[in-house]
Amino acid sequence: MSVLAVKDLHVSVETEQGTKQILKGVDLTVNQGEIHAIMGPNGSGKSTLAYSIAGHPKYHVESGSVTLDGVEVLTMSVDQRARAGLFLAMQYPVEIPGVRVADFLRTAKTALDGEAPALRPWIKEVNEAMKGLRMDKTFSERNVNEGFSGGEKKRHEILQLELLKPRFAILDETDSGLDVDALKVVSEGVNRAKAATGLGVLLITHYTRILRYIKPDFVHVFVDGKIAEEGGPELAERLEDEGYDRFLPNSSESASASVV
């Protein structure tokens, strides 16, 4: 069984005001087949965790490790990480002018498998996955993310998840900006991918809404660059009722405790 393990991860980013610490010691273990929800207020570092695991050059790992079945991921290039089995569904996928979705998908599949997929079964698979996500056939003729609506971008991310079949997927706020219908379609896609390949999922979200459709095994509350509390699905229900207030420094109990 595959394991993605994050240990004592510290990450900083360069800003105009100087170096800023974002992740301050994250520990997290995701086994294949598990769904972990990472929840937390804006600015707590959830997305930084996602991009640091994927290897975005903007984020500097100061210490700690991320291993996939014991192999260090942090020394790999971005594409090596993907070929090792990691996938990041992005919150804001970028437009790539002049590159058609169909060509992009096939290029990515070829890169991951080390050989080009046989054309006819591949086209059939792409068409079926698009149908499952209620995407029009003409979609594959468009340029990657160019002129896509917010919902189309998210469907396109999950389309890739289903077709590229990673061992671990990080979904960075895949639910943000989606209406309920689109959220259901996208969630079904994630559930299908999990049923098909048994992948592990790190589901990053600000809201509990998506957890009605994608059932987490574990919930982690992320505050100020680390995990503040962990639990089962019941923790999400509690957050739904109480919000993040009790975790924030200016809430009553922590404020009184912090007067120096």
């Binding site: 970028v94 002049g98 007067v259």
Partner: protein, 409 residues
């Protein structure tokens, strides 16, 4: 310890940060000593006689970005103006013939605006005339192969007669040391696509002035593709002289080490309700790769209802390259639909590379995809599937050639 939320102090923006400083090509700052008001583009001097133009110093506005020393023979020397070798397979509706320089069609689209163009005009003995006509769409390919390396002058007149629809590709290969004028007359209601494809030998020098007149309700799609040559300078001047006429002017260029690829585009909205789109895209790779794009758009006093937009984008692939990009927009009437311009020159977008690499695609392959995607916006305008596929292959080849160059360096 409680931490008060930090509200970042608003950054004081300087003009420098926004790029809102005096244009580097100068002459725009009225407080400058010796300020001369910018001349309206349409008032630029023109003549068919070489000696009417003063000697070129290299400081002139239209020469200062060009390697004038390499161009001296074409600007001033005697030129061979005889027929040259070409292949033009018969095409229904197209007549390709050599005509004397006093033919009535010569001079119908414009006159030289610089000394090299005038030198070609007065040196040319035989003019290549291409006349397109008929009810069914015409498709013509002309292969120019035989310019050779002695300095030459050349002149071509392309006439799309009334209501003719035509697609013409002029492909130039081999050795060349040539300065030429190319006239394009798109008569009323005609629809002409002209692709000028420059695939010269590495040491070729090519100066071209294209002059186009677009008649009433007529349309010109003009596409310049420059992929090789030591110096290639193609300057199209397009006049939307008929009411309701339109022009789409596209350019694609890929400059390798030591190549100078230049295009000075002039689009003149003369008549009412005309529409213009200018879009040039270039890539630069290798030490000394140099490109110049100047886009002049003039919306004349009579050109009410004009709809115009021009843009230039350059993708810089390595260190040691230089791209000049200068859009100019002159508007003489306020009664227009819209007019705009844009220019951007930049390196790879890191976010695009990250996105592709995050899907397992190697960095080299990701770069290849981004460059081909960037240039394919222009390739897709060509309207000839075989030629589009060919150009995609050529661009792939350019990229792999440059990549191996970079690897050796």
């Amino acid at each position: 310890m409680s931490v008060a939320p930090q509200i970042p102090a608003p950054q004081k923006a300087t003009l420098e940060q926004h790029g809102a400083k005096a244009h580097s090509d100068g002459g725009w700052d009225a407080s400058e000593k010796g300020f001369i008001p910018v001349q309206t583009r349409s008032e630029r001097f023109s003549s068919v006689l070489h000696d009417d133009f003063p000697a070129v110093t290299g400081q002139e506005v239209d020469w200062k970005l060009s390697p004038v020393d390499l161009l001296r023979p074409l600007i001033d020397d005697e030129l061979d103006g005889s027929e040259y070798e070409l292949a033009a397979p018969d095409a229904v509706g197209a007549v390709v013939e050599w005509v004397p320089r006093d033919d009535a069609r010569v001079g119908s689209a414009g006159k030289p605006e610089d000394r090299a163009s005038a030198n070609a005009w007065s040196s040319t003995q035989k003019v290549l005339s291409i006349t397109l006509s008929g009810e069914t769409p015409v498709a013509l390919g002309v292969d120019r192969t035989g310019f050779g390396s002695t300095p030459r002058g050349a002149h071509t007149v392309i006439t799309a007669t009334k209501h003719t629809s035509a697609h013409v590709v002029i492909r130039s290969t081999g050795a060349a040391h040539v300065v030429e004028n190319l006239e394009i007359v798109v008569e009323d209601g005609a629809d002409l696509t002209l692709v000028s494809l420059q695939e010269w030998d590495d040491d070729a020098i090519h100066l071209a002035s294209h002059f186009a007149q677009v008649g009433r309700d007529a349309k010109l799609t003009h596409i310049i593709v420059s992929l090789s040559g030591k110096v290639v300078r193609v300057n199209p001047s397009v006049h939307l002289s008929g009411e309701g006429s339109s022009a789409e002017l596209y350019g694609l260029y890929f400059a390798d080490a030591g190549q100078h690829l230049e295009q000075r585009v002039y689009l003149h909205h003369e008549a009412a309700n005309t529409k213009g789109r200018v879009n040039y895209k270039g890539a630069l790779q290798g030490a000394g790769a140099r490109t110049v794009w100047v886009g002049d758009v003039l919306i004349g006093r009579q050109a009410s209802g004009t709809d115009s937009y021009e843009q230039n984008r350059n993708l810089v692939l390595t260190e040691g390259t230089r791209a000049d990009s200068i859009p100019n927009l002159e508007i003489e009437t306020g009664d227009i639909l819209g007019a705009g311009h844009a220019s951007a020159t930049g390196r790879f977008d890191d976010e695009q590379l990250f996105y592709l690499q995050a899907r397992g695609i190697t960095e080299a392959e990701a770069r290849r995809l981004v460059v081909i995607g960037f240039l394919s916006e222009i390739v897709q305008k060509i309207g000839d599937a075989a030629l589009e596929a060919y150009l995609h292959e050529k661009i792939e080849w350019e990229l792999s050639a440059s990549a191996s160059q970079g690897g050796a360096a």
